[in-house]
């Protein structure tokens, strides 16, 4: 029986002698509440040491304090979680960087971890290392299929649970959970992005590799097979995003995330739209008539969260999905097909981008730059 309350308070750096029997090891991990419900790869010393071959530095250093438990994420403990998730060692730097990005105060991980909302931290990887690691950006970016996507996302989730203490039903009190809470990691389809990729837009060199983290819901599909203009496709995007049930509409600082498929992006770009043009169009058109909201929501939330607009327009108010154009986050993801996606934000959170550097602080261009010589013993 899993003692979920016990695992909530358990020290995350404990080590246990176990037998060599795989079934017993799998059961041991499950009994300790370390899993997401699926069997994990037992984090034996040998496997964890292999994972640490892509970490250069003291293995007991503090990489982050993960809320709500605020336990220290050391390299060895994060490597154990990455091992359990099925990561290859070369994925580990991305896991580390993503966890650190989520622990930036702007991201508000404490709230994301303990909310009743169904949001989860999404990781979008950019740059050459995304391609080196085979992080899928196209047909099955959200899964299933690519080991990198599945295991990096899973490693992060296990770390949030096992180190951060977001124990399902005890401290992670999402009303119904989410498939996105199993694994939520993709790469941007930079080859088919007619504009600047996300990391360049955020000020990083094209040859750098970054992770960007967003707290958001699982993707809402935007199916548009008829529009052949930018305005047409963006009208469908705006319509899809205009939903009264999305958390973000009640949070003025929310950053709705729009992931355009390559085909939709090409059509929009062909009409001369820049990313800022997209943002401006969505700001103007992604709006919800006030009478779509319940009277209680208008009284307790809308008129307070959008006070200026409410006071100005009253019953004719069109509630914006985003309160400023720049709040729309845009990237290009997916393969062939005319489906884009809209991911409502958790709301009270800001996305964070971090660049991959070596131990000297230099931006790395290859994942092999992070493989350290010699072995790690723990």
């Amino acid at each position: 029986m899993i003692n979920r309350m016990g695992s909530l308070l358990e020290q995350s750096d404990a080590r246990y002698p176990v037998s060599d029997d795989l079934d017993e090891q799998l059961q041991f991990c499950a009994d300790h509440g370390w899993t997401d419900g699926l069997p994990v790869v037992p984090p034996t010393t040998k496997r964890v040491e292999a994972m640490l071959s892509y970490f250069d530095g003291p293995v007991d250093t503090c990489l982050a304090n993960i809320p709500p438990r605020n336990s220290v994420a050391t390299p060895v403990i994060l490597a154990a979680n990455a091992t359990m998730a099925g990561c290859l060692p070369e994925y580990f730097p991305i896991v580390v960087l993503a966890v650190q990005a989520m622990c930036d105060s702007a991201f508000n991980l404490y709230a994301v971890q303990t909310t009743t909302h169904s949001s989860a931290p999404l990781v979008i990887v950019n740059g050459p290392i995304a391609r080196q690691l085979g992080i899928d950006c196209a047909h099955m970016a959200f899964g299933p299929g690519a080991r990198a996507n599945a295991s990096i996302g899973r490693a992060i989730r296990l770390a949030l649970m096992n180190i951060g203490g977001a124990i399902p039903g005890v401290s992670d009190l999402s009303t119904y959970g989410s498939p996105a809470k199993f694994s939520f990691c993709i790469a941007e389809n930079e080859a088919n992005n007619p504009w600047e990729p996300l990391h360049v837009e955020r000020g990083y060199p094209p040859e750098s590799s970054t992770v960007s983290v967003f707290a958001c819901e699982a993707p809402h599909n935007v199916s548009d097979h008829a529009s052949f203009s930018a305005r047409g496709i963006l009208t469908t995007v705006a319509g899809t995003s205009a939903t009264t049930g999305a958390n973000s509409v009640y949070h003025p600082l929310a950053e709705p995330l729009i992931l355009l498929s390559p085909e939709h992006a090409a059509t929009i770009h062909k009409d001369g739209f820049s990313k800022d043009d997209i943002r401006q169009f969505l700001f103007e058109h992604a709006r919800i008539a006030l009478d779509r909201f319940s009277a209680e929501n208008i009284d307790q939330r809308i008129r307070l969260k959008h006070a200026e607009l409410f006071d100005r327009d009253g019953a004719k108010m069109m509630v914006p999905v985003a309160t400023a154009p720049e709040r729309f986050m845009i990237a290009v993801v997916g393969g062939a097909g005319k489906h884009s996606s809209f991911l409502p934000s958790f709301g009270n959170t800001s996305s964070v981008t971090r660049v991959l550097r070596n131990s000297s602080g230099e931006i790395v261009k290859s994942i092999e730059d992070l493989r350290h010589k010699g072995s790690t013993e723990i």
Binding site: M5, L8, L9, P68, R69, N70, T114, G165, V170, S171, L173, E296
Partner: protein, 71 residues
């Protein structure tokens, strides 16, 4: 809350049922393991204001009892 408690101010947390375990765990995280937690029925959101007042009154009674009992 933890800072107030360390300064000697009596601190009592009111939590609706499903969040009590999280509250107690966080009290340990913030080094106030003896934090008093009063559980009230869940949910609090979406109920009539009169019902909110009723629950507040019950909780207030518990709070008064705890504070009077403190040495």
């Amino acid at each position: 809350m933890a800072e107030l408690s360390r300064k000697g101010t009596p601190v009592i947390l009111i939590s609706s049922g499903p969040f009590v375990n999280l509250a107690k765990a966080q009290a340990q995280v913030f080094a106030i393991p003896n934090l008093m937690v009063i559980a009230i029925p869940h949910p609090l959101g979406g109920i009539a204001l009169s019902e909110v007042y009723g629950r507040a009154q019950v909780a207030a009674g518990h709070i008064a009892g705890i504070l009077k009992a403190k040495p």
